[in-house]
């Protein structure tokens, strides 16, 4: 079976890869491109650990084929920090201990960043609904929600 040639942009870098028709974007990111920051929790769209954005839209990379990435702009957790400089959400998650084992964290960060880009001043309810598709077995969510709300407040003050 011939593999599919895909040309795409990942974290602002032009990227090419070959993939099987069955391969999900998540498979490609992790196994083909070595971008293992994006995690697989369930593989069925329920946990959000595999969250990335495609043309600015938050999606589960486990529910998208690698071949569908042709010509799209993909953003993953690897593109969130500017070099050594962590994104304000990343800093706040560390500061407020909004993670324990960390497997859910890349997904939460990518999803939260996408929320704050659309809505810089979300209510707690907004944050909880937006992140309802991200599951965390460790933290009990409260620290995550508070970290997102505090980051939003900091970013509003800074701008």
């Amino acid at each position: 079976m011939s593999r599919i040639h895909v040309t795409t942009t990942i974290n602002d870098d032009a990227t090419e890869f070959l993939c099987e028709a069955e391969a999900t974007l998540l498979d490609v990111l992790r196994d083909e491109l070595g971008l293992t920051g994006t995690k697989e929790g369930c593989g069925t769209g329920d946990c959000g650990a595999c969250s990335v954005t495609v043309d600015g839209r938050l999606v589960c990379s486990c529910l998208m084929l690698g071949a569908e990435a042709e010509g799209r702009e993909i953003a993953t957790i690897e593109g969130m920090a500017e070099g050594e400089d962590l994104h304000p959400l990343q800093k706040k998650f560390i500061e407020m201990a909004a993670l324990q084992c960390g497997i859910c964290t890349p997904g939460f960060l990518v999803a939260a960043k996408s929320l704050l880009e659309r809505n810089p001043d979300p209510t707690e309810e907004d944050v909880r609904y937006w992140l309802a598709g991200n599951l965390c077995r460790c933290t009990g969510y409260d620290k995550i929600i508070r970290a997102v709300l505090e980051t939003a407040a900091d970013m509003r003050r800074a701008s």
């Binding site: 999606v59 569908e68 598709g133 991200n134």
Partner: protein
Amino acid sequence: MRYEAPRSVEEAVTALAGQTGAHVLAGGTDLLVKLRSEMIAPELIVDIKRIAGMREITAEEGGWRIGAAVSGAEMGEHEGLCADWPGVVEAAELIGSTQVQGRATIAGNLCNASPAADSVPAMVAASAVARIAGPEGTRDLAVIDVPQGPGKTALGPGEFITSIFLPPRGARSGDAYLRFIPRTEMDIAVVGCGISLSLDEAGRISGARVALGAVGPKVILVEAAAEALKHRALDAGALDDLATACARAATPIDDKRGTAEFRRHVAGVLARRVAVIAEARAKGDTA
């Protein structure tokens, strides 16, 4: 398995018709789950998202035509559609999480043919019509006639839905959708109810369409509910009759998410609540 992303409807039809067991890919939020769990093992997947016009919402004869690759999130961001058909939009926006919303389509929700599909009762209440392309050309089919039972649709070999049409909203009319789930998010409807109402100048109901989901093998249009409401104000008596008609029309099963008796009761309760919201919207409430 092969993957194709045709650029035109004709190419898509040729691809689908040329391969038995080919599957259409829209948002993939049902298809990829089935693929990965090996419920299906297709020879060919035809991605319809690259076909011209498939991702557009366009005004047409006073109504809206929604391309088959438009996601729920995109519907929710479309002001005109939200103003005219808030019930259809709120049903589409109930599908899954933010991530699922970024991809899931209402045509996919319809073609997946789950009895609990959230957008389907809302589309049926709205008298939505699916446009279908196939080897014999194009045909229009009322959304209510698309699902035939769990996992079964009226689409023939080589056919796929290219768009869903929502008719003109009409004066003094409104729609709404609610579902009952044990949680607040990320769950499958135990009962869903979509209602579209039109009022006459005196505020009485001149037309109603009441549809129930998850209480039968496919969506149910409750004609008796529409009859019961006709030419009446939506007062306590009318709401009682609406609830009774819905509870009677429901043909649910017992399963782990609810007994048949509970579901019949909830069908009535939801119908009351949905009718009140639809009436308020018909009277100009935009909240």
